[in-house]
């Protein structure tokens, strides 16, 4: 039988994953640009903010990979005390 639910999952995951990573990275780029402005208010804070955003995007990617690779997934769930 056709696994329609699977398609829905793929659609949602793709959407959420890609949008999150792109948004975080774009914010990082924007904050980076702000911090390089000659008349910026607080260039340090903006730079820091940009790194945080980049960090989030990388985190999202790593989380995705963990979810997909069975050994990693089991190990991660083990850390949370959930047996898979």
């Amino acid at each position: 039988m056709i696994d329609w639910f699977g398609f829905v999952i793929v659609a949602i995951v793709t959407l959420v994953g890609a949008v999150f990573v792109v948004t975080m990275y774009s914010l990082g780029v924007r904050l980076d640009a702000v911090s390089d402005d000659p008349e910026a208010n607080s260039p340090g804070a903006a730079k820091f903010g940009s790194y945080v955003c980049f960090g989030f995007s990388i985190l999202a990617v790593v989380a995705g990979i963990v979810l997909i690779v069975p050994p990693f997934y089991k190990a991660a769930m083990h850390v949370f005390g959930v047996e898979v």
């Binding site: 056709i2 793709t14 890609a18 990573v21």
Partner: protein, 457 residues
């Protein structure tokens, strides 16, 4: 026999890497985010790693599509698989040589299906339900999903990074070049995803052979040595395919901007990874192309060349049937016995060598070397900023001319109206004069009559 099939399967994996290297790395190479040599090496390593990560797709292939064993199934012999692989490999090389966009995955499926149907002379050999749900439907939906997501992400990326000075409205530094570095990561992701999806297919086929020849129980996943062998094969093919690309750089690649490329690749990677997890066997070519189109549409002023897209779509649809036909023909030959098998093997080898030889000789240029994804870029017409401004200026000039013409028409109409009024007045005046004259002409007559009467009296 089994060994021969395994060897051919690994060769197919190799050609798969060859064909698809550029799908992951084309855009960052195009925007200059990464050096070609580094890109190719990176892609090879990541494909290798990706192959180990997930085995869902392999299970689909080995257990799903073809009904092996059991009361309802048919006996799938290694010879059949050999024929199927031969069909896939030949079709793969053929399209690669001609620069036609083709999905290695569909070639594989087509070859196997064709060989199975002809080999067992019945349509019952293939579980069409699985083919539809895990191959054909994903082939249509996944690029669509990836394209849609890429479109959204491109708009997001451009929107979030668009800054203008609140006072003067000028554009401030946007540093979208930062996306270039991100592209290195996103295309690495795509290469990884490719490994999880494409190397699996060969693993599935090899497992199928092992099951069919009784060396492995049906329903189990692929062995470790199978996984390793396929991973190395696809990584090798990826690396080897890269040299062809490196040779041609500088001949004009699709106009892809870093932010757009980043959005497209992230969408592709997400779609492929999610699908691999569910066991959907995808064509990375299709998904990547869908993302490129979606992200291209997200840019300002992009228009779609429907003709080119139609051509690409048709080529995609034809791949599976075409490979099926070649696989079926090979199976037909093999049915005649060992002689047939030898003939197929020799013909196949000859064809492979011939195509390889031709590939070394012909001119490698933009059209056939870079990637199918790059070719897809031709389907969109994204005017650059200069072109956009030119178009806008043209539109303004056209508008001015139209206004002038309208004004002139209005003037002419006004003049005509005045003339008409004057004419009307003149008419009225003439009429009045005539009436008066007529009245006067009447009046003296009466007067004469009255005078005459008076005179008579």
């Amino acid at each position: 026999m089994v060994v021969l099939v395994i060897a051919l399967a690994l060769f197919f994996d190799f050609t798969n890497g060859f064909h698809d290297t550029a799908n992951a790395m084309a855009t960052p190479i195009a925007t200059g985010a990464i050096k070609p040599k580094t890109a190719v090496a990176l892609a090879a390593i990541l494909n290798l790693v990706g192959a180990f990560l997930s085995t869902e797709v392999a299970k689909t292939i080995s257990g799903g599509i073809i009904n092996e064993g059991g009361p309802n199934g048919v006996a799938i012999t290694p010879e059949m698989i050999f024929a199927g692989l031969m069909g896939a490999v030949l079709w793969n090389l053929f399209t690669w040589l001609l620069g036609l966009p083709s999905s290695s995955s569909h070639a594989l499926f087509g070859g196997l299906i064709g060989a199975a149907i002809v080999g067992t002379w019945s349509f019952g050999a293939v579980n069409f339900m699985v083919v539809i749900s895990k191959v054909l439907l994903p082939a249509i939906l996944a690029p669509a999903i990836a394209g849609l997501v890429a479109y959204l992400c491109t708009r997001l990326a451009y929107g979030i990074t668009r800054r203008s000075d609140p006072d003067s409205g000028d554009k401030l530094t946007q540093k979208r070049g930062g996306f270039r570095r991100g592209q290195v990561f996103s295309s690495s992701l795509v290469a990884l995803a490719h490994g999880t999806n494409d190397a699996q297919k060969t693993m599935g086929v090899i497992t199928l052979v092992l099951v069919a020849s009784g060396l492995q129980t049906a329903g189990t996943g692929p062995h470790l040595w199978v996984i390793t062998a396929c991973a190395i094969a696809i990584a090798g093919g990826t690396y080897a395919g890269g040299w062809r690309i490196i040779r041609t750089l500088g001949s004009g690649l699709t106009d892809v901007k870093p932010a757009q490329g980043f959005a497209a690749e992230t969408s592709t990677a997400a779609a492929i990874l999610a699908s691999s997890h569910l066991g959907f066997a995808l064509s990375t070519t299709h998904v990547a192309s869908g993302s490129v189109i979606g992200s291209g549409l997200g840019r300002k002023g992009a228009t779609v060349r429907w003709g080119a897209i139609g051509k690409i779509g048709i080529a995609w649809l034809l791949t599976l049937p075409s490979a099926a036909i070649v696989g079926g023909l090979a199976a037909l030959l093999i049915r005649t016995g060992t002689v047939g098998l030898v003939i197929v093997a020799i013909l196949g080898l000859g064809a492979i060598l011939f195509m390889f030889y031709r590939s070394q000789r012909e001119v490698v240029d933009h059209n056939n070397a870079i990637s199918d994804v790059d070719a897809v870029g031709e389907a969109l017409n994204i005017p650059s900023k200069k072109e956009r401004e030119k178009l806008a200026a043209k539109a303004r000039a056209a508008q001015k001319v139209a206004e002038k013409a309208a004004r002139r028409a209005a003037e002419t109409a006004a003049v005509r109206a005045d003339a008409q009024t004057a004419l009307d007045r003149a008419d009225t005046a003439v009429l009045k004069a005539m009436t008066k004259a007529a009245a006067q002409a009447e009046a003296p007559k009466d007067k004469a009559k009255i005078d005459a009467k008076k005179g008579n009296k």
